[in-house]
């Protein structure tokens, strides 16, 4: 029997096993919560599993412009690592038991960050609407109704940004207007716009104006580090002061409070892991080679912390 046939056979077994587990879980959940549909539990399981595997990146990815990322459950689930790590930076110190997670290349967020990370969110958010559009009888690739939602697979979607090309500032009200509809944007919609767009400084700003702004606002150029960089580097209009500021902000190292690796000194945060390692007869230092899952799993926590840290946005 060929390898493929044996793999396929094994896959079938695993498929059955997954269904069995899902049914078992459905039964378990139903014991806790009565009158709940199995399909709903299946959905909850799938979402939770995706979040665990991607370390929370799926929350943004599935969120698009609205969605799970903004839900209380999403926020709550993402707070796991915070409670476990007590807000410390995760495992950046070499030579520690679990430091490999930060040093290793196999981190989902680290991988997608190079793509960049925003692309995942924007693109999947758009793609997810394809199914909804099919169901709603629209064109499969029609964009969603949310203001600024990028057209699926457009450059805006792939760069993970909102499509604000149709949004123009309203000099009378000081707000913004949708050029297509002529309607003013609500505060909620304005909040969705990137800071680099809403900032008073943009690529059309002259050097003199920029220097004036910088003098008046010494703490920040645009109020956003990436916005500063865009203005300074891409816009190519910034004088030495602004470029210097942007470079200092970008190259000067990330701000951080304390550098403590997974709080290995405290027994409690690693309790669940230690128990698991002990029960399964492996050294905790070998956890990187073990495929474990859960909110206390180092892989999840590393991804979550990277996901939550101050990252640079993506220009459209």
């Amino acid at each position: 029997m060929g390898l493929f046939k044996s793999i396929k056979k094994a896959f079938k077994k695993i498929g059955k096993a997954i269904k069995k587990v899902v049914k078992k879980v459905v039964g378990g959940v139903k014991k806790v919560v009565k009158k709940i549909s199995s399909s709903k539990i299946l959905k909850a399981l799938a979402i939770a599993a995706a979040v665990i595997v991607t370390g929370g990146a799926a929350l943004t990815a599935f969120g698009g412009t609205t969605g799970l990322a903004a839900t209380p459950f999403g926020t709550w689930m993402m707070s796991t690592s915070q409670s476990v790590l007590s807000g410390t930076a995760f495992g950046t110190k070499a030579g520690t038991a679990l430091g490999k997670f930060a040093q290793g290349t196999g981190n989902f967020v680290a991988k997608v960050a190079a793509k960049p990370f925003g692309a995942v969110g924007g693109a999947l958010g758009s793609t997810a609407r394809v199914g909804a559009n099919l169901l709603g009888g629209q064109s499969a690739f029609a964009p969603g109704t949310a203001i600024g939602a990028p057209a699926p697979f457009s450059s805006a979607a792939l760069s993970g940004q909102l499509d604000y090309s149709q949004v123009v500032p309203d000099p009378v009200t000081g707000g913004y207007t949708n050029k297509n509809t002529g309607l003013p944007l609500t505060q909620e919609q304005i909040n969705q716009l990137p800071e680099s767009f809403t900032s008073t400084i943009n690529s059309a700003t002259s050097t003199a104006e920029l220097n004036d702004y910088q003098k008046n606002n010494p703490s920040s150029l645009t109020g956003n580090r990436w916005g500063d960089y865009v203005v300074g580097g891409v816009g190519n209009v910034v004088g030495g002061v602004a470029v210097g500021y942007a470079q200092q902000e970008l190259l000067g190292g990330d701000p951080r409070g304390e550098d403590a690796p997974l709080m290995v000194e405290g027994a409690e945060p690693l309790g669940a892991l230690q128990v698991y390692a002990s029960n399964n007869n492996f050294d905790l230092n070998d956890i990187y080679g073990q495929l474990t899952y859960g909110t206390a799993d180092p892989g999840y926590m590393a991804s979550t912390e990277l996901y939550r840290q101050d990252t640079i946005g993506v220009p459209s």
């Binding site: 997954i18 587990v21 879980v25 665990i52 796991t80 693109a123 169901l135 990187y288």
Partner: protein, 243 residues
Amino acid sequence: MAKPTKNPRPIVSGSLSDASAQVVLDGLDSGFTIDEIAPSKGPKLRGERQFSQESLDELVSLSNKGAPVAGQSLMNSPAEPYAWEQPPEFTNPREALDYVVALMFEPEAIKNIIVSLSKGAAVIDIGVAILYSQFTTGKINPDVLMMLVEPVAYIIMAMGEEANIKYNIEGNDLDEFDDEEYDEEEEDLKDEFKNSLTGIKEKTLNKGIDISNINSGVVPESILAKVEEKSPEIKSILSKGEV
């Protein structure tokens, strides 16, 4: 909802199903409703598997091309091994999983996965295609491949859920969980009935009723006389009856 009543519980498990089940239960325990965990998006698109003559013809045509002759692989030059005959790129399952999941989150891949689900392809079949391709290109070995089946399947399921598609997990089992739901409801009703019967029995026995203590005056004399009179005519519904 109000604020969650407690922080998430740290969970570690060797099985993703188990870990996600624990997270969901923890979420429910913290005061979230199932609708908050899995928000409803209205009726789902049914990913019904449909027969396609074209696909069948293609399959037949592929089968007719024949299989490799036994031992054919041994005829290959050792200097030019296949990708899967060399050490895999990823031996650590965590790194392999991150790599595969990152590939799956590529916009084009997501599009293809969602379209496949909506056309009735099963989650496991899509998983086979994804992971087997990684094996044949020398990224992972068969052992790591097997370890990644579960997380990959769940990622595909999550994509299907996000796209609001009712998908097949393995084979053609679109409505399996609905049937399960129905069966469970029926079982619950049966259990409830049995429990209430047992309850009545137990309560009666616990009361310690003695026939001699029964008040004879409860049933009027006239009715008892009528029963006495009619008793030869009263037949059990299980009696043979007259032939």
